[in-house]
C-alpha cells in the first residue's frame, strides 16, 4: 500500500502545480496553445526533452535492453542525440521564425500556407492524429502496467484477478485523467511547467533507481560480471559461443519434453507404467516447480528409449508444446526434417494459451495473495504466487528456451532514420513555437544529447543486469524466461527497493510518461480547433472561449479512444514506439523540402504524404500489426524504405509539375541582404 500512497501524493502535487499554472493563464486561446510565446531556454529544454522522453525511454529502453542487450543504446539513444538536435537546429529555428512572422499555431497551417493548398490539411490531419494515437497508447498502456506492477498485494479482498493490486485499466485511467486535468486548466504554460517539474523528477529519481538497483545487485561491477558469466551476448551485438551452446542444450532438453508429452498423449497417458513414473520422479534432480513431473518422466522415457515418433509427429509436438498455431498447410520438409529452434520461432504463438495456467492445478496450486505464506508452517517456501508469476512459471516450464539473437548490422545502421521523426512530431512543432526568442533554442540543442545519455545509460544497464540477476543465495534467475519486457523496470524497482522508495521511483517513471502525454493531448486539441473547426468554421464564428471548449472536448474524445484501444491486446512498448516514429520519419522529407527546396510543389507534397502513409500501412499490416518485433524490409528497418520512397515520390512529382510562383516563394525564401 505504501508505494500506492506515494504515487497518489505525487499525482496530487502535480495537479496542484497544474492549477497554480492555470492562475497565470491569460485566458486567450493563444496563451492556452502557445503560452503567448513566452517560454525561455530552461523551460524550453525541459519541455522538449520531457516530451521526447516517454515510456519509450524508460520502460521501453529497459525492456528492450533486457531482450536485446546493450546495443539498444546505439540503436536509438546516441543517434537521437545527433539527429534530434539536428532537427531542432535545422527545422526548429526556421519554423519558429516563420511561425513568428506568419502566426502559425500548428504544422498544418504552415503546410497550407507554404504549399498554397487547403486540401493538404485534410490529408495531413487524420494522418498526424492517427500517428499520435499509437504514441499516446504507449504512454497510457505503460502507465497502467507500471502502477499495476508496483501495487501488487496492496488490497486484501479486492482485485484478486489483478494480484490484489490496481488493475492496469484503472492505473491507465487515473493517469490519463490527471494529465487531462492539468492540461485542461494549465494549457501550454501548465504543460511546460509540469514537463519541467516532471523531467527533473524522473532524471533525479532515475539516477537514484540506478544506484539502488546496482547496490542491491552487489555493485556495478558485480552486476556486469554476472551478465558476462550468465548472458555474455547481452554485452555486445552478436551472440557469444557459450550462449549458443547453452541454448542448443536447453532446446534439446525441451524437445524431449515436447516429444514425451506428445507420445504420452498418443498413448492415452500410459506411456510409462505407474512404477516407471515413480522411479522417474525419484530420480529427478531439477527444481520442483511448475510441470516438473512431466520433465522427470520425459527424462526417464528418453533414457529408456520409450518415445517412438515420426519426424512429422515430432514437429507437431514442438508446435503444440510451444503453444504455437499449427500451420494449415504444412511445408514439404515437415515429414523429412526436424525443425530447428529458429524455424519454430517463425510460427506465431498463441499468447492467450497462458491463461490456462490460472485454472491448471499443476501451475496454480500456490496462487493467492502475494503477502500470504504458501505454507505458514514452512515459511521458507515463501509467499503465494501472483497471477503474473503463475503465468511466468507456465511459460518458463512449458515453452521452448529463448533463442539468443544477434543484432543485424543493416538494422542497426538503418535505425538512424527513426529519430528523424522529431522533425514531424506535431507536439514538438507546437513547443518550438512557444519559444520566447531564437536564443532559447541554444540550450536545448546542446543539452539534449547529454540529457538523453543521463536517462538512457542507467536504463539500458538495468535492463541488461536484469537478465542475469539471481534470487539471493541461489543460482535461480530472478526474472523467469519469457518475461514481459514492459514489466522489467517496474519489477526491478519493486524487488530491489523498500516500499517507500519503490513508490517514489515509480512516480519517476510515471513522470516521464505524463510529461509526454500532456503535450500530445494539448497538441491534438490545438490541431482540431485550428486546422478543422476555426479553419472551416471561420474565425468570427467562434469566440475565444468557445474555441477553448472545443479543444478540450476533442482532447477528451481522443483520450477516450486511446484509452479504449489500450484495453485491447498489448504490444511491446518499444515496438509500438518504433512504428509510430517510423510513420513521422517517413514524412520528414516533406518538412525538410518545405523549408529548403523552392522547387517543392503541392502535387509533390501530396505524392510524398501518400507514399509515406501507404507504405507505413502496408508494412504495419505485414508485421502482424506490430506483433512481430523483428519485422524488416529487405533486411532493414521498414523506415529505411519509407523515407527514401517518400522523398523520391516528392522530388519526381515536384519536378514534373508547375513550380510555385516567385512571389509566393519570396515569403519563405527571402533574398539575403548583401551586407
Amino acid at each position: 500500500m505504501v508505494p500506492l500512497i506515494v504515487i497518489c501524493v505525487y499525482l496530487v502535487l502535480l495537479l496542484a502545480l497544474g492549477i497554480f499554472a492555470s492562475m497565470l493563464f491569460r485566458g486567450s486561446s493563444k496563451d492556452y496553445m502557445l503560452a503567448s510565446h513566452s517560454i525561455g531556454p530552461f523551460l524550453l529544454l525541459m519541455s522538449l526533452f520531457g516530451t521526447t522522453m516517454t515510456a519509450f525511454a524508460l520502460v521501453g529502453s529497459t525492456g528492450e535492453a533486457y531482450a536485446e542487450g546493450v546495443g539498444v543504446y546505439g540503436l536509438l539513444a546516441s543517434s537521437s542525440g545527433i539527429i534530434h538536435s539536428l532537427c531542432f537546429f535545422v527545422l526548429g529555428i526556421k519554423l519558429w521564425s516563420l511561425g513568428k512572422k506568419y502566426g502559425y499555431t500548428t504544422q498544418i497551417q504552415f503546410f497550407r500556407d507554404r504549399l498554397q493548398s487547403d486540401k493538404i490539411g485534410i490529408l495531413l490531419f487524420p494522418i498526424l492524429v492517427g500517428l499520435v494515437i499509437p504514441y499516446l497508447l504507449i504512454g497510457v498502456m505503460a502507465s497502467g502496467t507500471v502502477v499495476s506492477a508496483v501495487s501488487e498485494g496492496a488490497f486484501t479482498n479486492m482485485f484478486a484477478e489483478y494480484d490484489y493490486g490496481v488493475p492496469n485499466w484503472l492505473g491507465s485511467l487515473v493517469i490519463s485523467i490527471v494529465v487531462l486535468i492539468y492540461v485542461f486548466f494549465g494549457g501550454m504554460r501548465g504543460t511546460a511547467w509540469a514537463n519541467a517539474f516532471q523531467t527533473i523528477v524522473f532524471m533525479i529519481l532515475g539516477i537514484i533507481t540506478f544506484w539502488v538497483i546496482s547496490d542491491n545487485l552487489g555493485g556495478v561491477q558485480a552486476a556486469s560480471e554476472a551478465v558476462e558469466k550468465r548472458n555474455p551476448s547481452k554485452l555486445m551485438r552478436s551472440v557469444a559461443e557459450s550462449d549458443e551452446q547453452k541454448y542448443e542444450k536447453a532446446f534439446a532438453t525441451w524437445q524431449s519434453l515436447a516429444e514425451y508429452n506428445y507420445a504420452n498423449k498418443k498413448a492415452n497417458g500410459e506411456l510409462l507404467t505407474p512404477e516407471q513414473k515413480e522411479k522417474a520422479i525419484a530420480d529427478y534432480k531439477g527444481p520442483p516447480i511448475g510441470n516438473w513431473k512431466a520433465r522427470a518422466e520425459a527424462n526417464f522415457a528418453v533414457a529408456s528409449n520409450l518415445i517412438d515418433l515420426s519426424i512429422a509427429e515430432k514437429n507437431d509436438a514442438y508446435i503444440e508444446q510451444d503453444d504455437r498455431i499449427m500451420p494449415k498447410e504444412k511445408p514439404q520438409w515437415w515429414d523429412k526434417e526436424v525443425m530447428t529452434g529458429h524455424e519454430l520461432n517463425e510460427y506465431q504463438r498463441n499468447e492467450d494459451a497462458v491463461l490456462a495456467a490460472y485454472t491448471d492445478p499443476i501451475y496454480n496450486k500456490n496462487m493467492g495473495h502475494p503477502n500470504d505464506l504458501i505454507n505458514p508452517d514452512k515459511p521458507e517456501l515463501g509467499t503465494k504466487w501472483t497471477r503474473k508469476r503463475t503465468a511466468g512459471v507456465y511459460r518458463a516450464t512449458k515453452w521452448s528456451p529463448e533463442e539468443p539473437r544477434a543484432m543485424s548490422m543493416l538494422v542497426f545502421i538503418t535505425y538512424m532514420f527513426i529519430p528523424l521523426s522529431v522533425g514531424m512530431f506535431p507536439h514538438l512543432f507546437q513547443h518550438w513555437l512557444t519559444a520566447k526568442n531564437a536564443q532559447s533554442f541554444k540550450l536545448p540543442v546542446v543539452a539534449h544529447p547529454l540529457f538523453i545519455a543521463i536517462v538512457w545509460i542507467p536504463c539500458v544497464l538495468v535492463g541488461v543486469w536484469a537478465t542475469s540477476a539471481v534470487v539471493p543465495g541461489t543460482e535461480r534467475a530472478l526474472i523467469p524466461p519469457h518475461f514481459n519486457p514492459n514489466a522489467v523496470l517496474p519489477f526491478m524497482v519493486a524487488n530491489m527497493s523498500g516500499p517507500f522508495l519503490s513508490g517514489l521511483l515509480t512516480a519517476g517513471v510515471l513522470a516521464a510518461i505524463m510529461s509526454s502525454l500532456d503535450s500530445q493531448f494539448l497538441c491534438i486539441g490545438t490541431m482540431f480547433t485550428e486546422d478543422i473547426v476555426v479553419h472551416y468554421g471561420g474565425k468570427k464564428r467562434f469566440t475565444d472561449k468557445q474555441v477553448l471548449i472545443i479543444a478540450r472536448c476533442f482532447i477528451i474524445a481522443i483520450v477516450a479512444v486511446t484509452y479504449i484501444l489500450s484495453l485491447y491486446e498489448p504490444r511491446r512498448v518499444f515496438t509500438l514506439g518504433v512504428w509510430t516514429f517510423s510513420g513521422f520519419s517517413s514524412l520528414f522529407p516533406l518538412v525538410f523540402a518545405a523549408l529548403y527546396w523552392k522547387r517543392l510543389t503541392k502535387a509533390g507534397a501530396y505524392a510524398c504524404v501518400i507514399t509515406a502513409i501507404s507504405l507505413w500501412c502496408l508494412f504495419f499490416y505485414m508485421s502482424d500489426m506490430a506483433l512481430n518485433p523483428h519485422f524488416t524490409v529487405f533486411g532493414m528497418m521498414p523506415v529505411a524504405t519509407m523515407v527514401p520512397a517518400a522523398a523520391v515520390a516528392m522530388i519526381v512529382v515536384s519536378l514534373m509539375t508547375q513550380p510555385p510562383s516567385e512571389e509566393h516563394l519570396e515569403r519563405f525564401f527571402p533574398k539575403k541582404s548583401s551586407s
Binding site: V70, G71, Y73, G74, A77, S78, S79, G81, I82, S85, L86, F89, I93, K94, W96, S97, L98, K100, K101, V220, Q221, A223, S224, E225, E228, P232, L235, M236, R237, S238, A240, M409, F412, I413, M416, N437, A438, K442, V445, V446, A447, H448, P449, L450, I452, A453, I457, V460, L461, V464, P670, K672, S673
Partner: protein
C-alpha cells in the same frame, strides 16, 4: 568554421556506426560494456558539436529578420 561544424556532424554519424565493437564485450572499468561506453561518448561528442554549432553556425540573419518582421507586424 561553419563547414567544419557540419563535417563534425557527419563524422559523428559515421562514428556512431561502431561496427568494430560488434563482437567485443570488454567491460571497461570492470562494469561498462565497451560498445555502450563508445556510444555514450557519441552522445557527449554530439553535445560538444552542437555547442560549436550554436557559436559558428547560428542562423543569426534568419533570426534577426524574424524579429524585425514580427516587431513590425505587431
Amino acid at each position: 568554421m561553419r563547414y567544419v561544424v557540419w563535417l563534425l556532424v557527419v563524422a559523428l554519424i559515421i562514428l556512431h556506426q561502431d561496427l568494430w565493437y560488434w563482437d567485443d564485450r570488454t567491460l571497461v572499468g570492470g562494469f561498462m560494456p565497451i560498445t555502450l561506453l563508445w556510444q555514450a561518448g557519441i552522445s557527449v561528442g554530439a553535445g560538444l558539436v552542437w555547442f560549436l554549432a550554436t557559436i559558428f553556425a547560428w542562423p543569426s540573419d534568419l533570426i534577426e529578420e524574424a524579429q524585425q518582421e514580427s516587431e513590425g507586424g505587431e
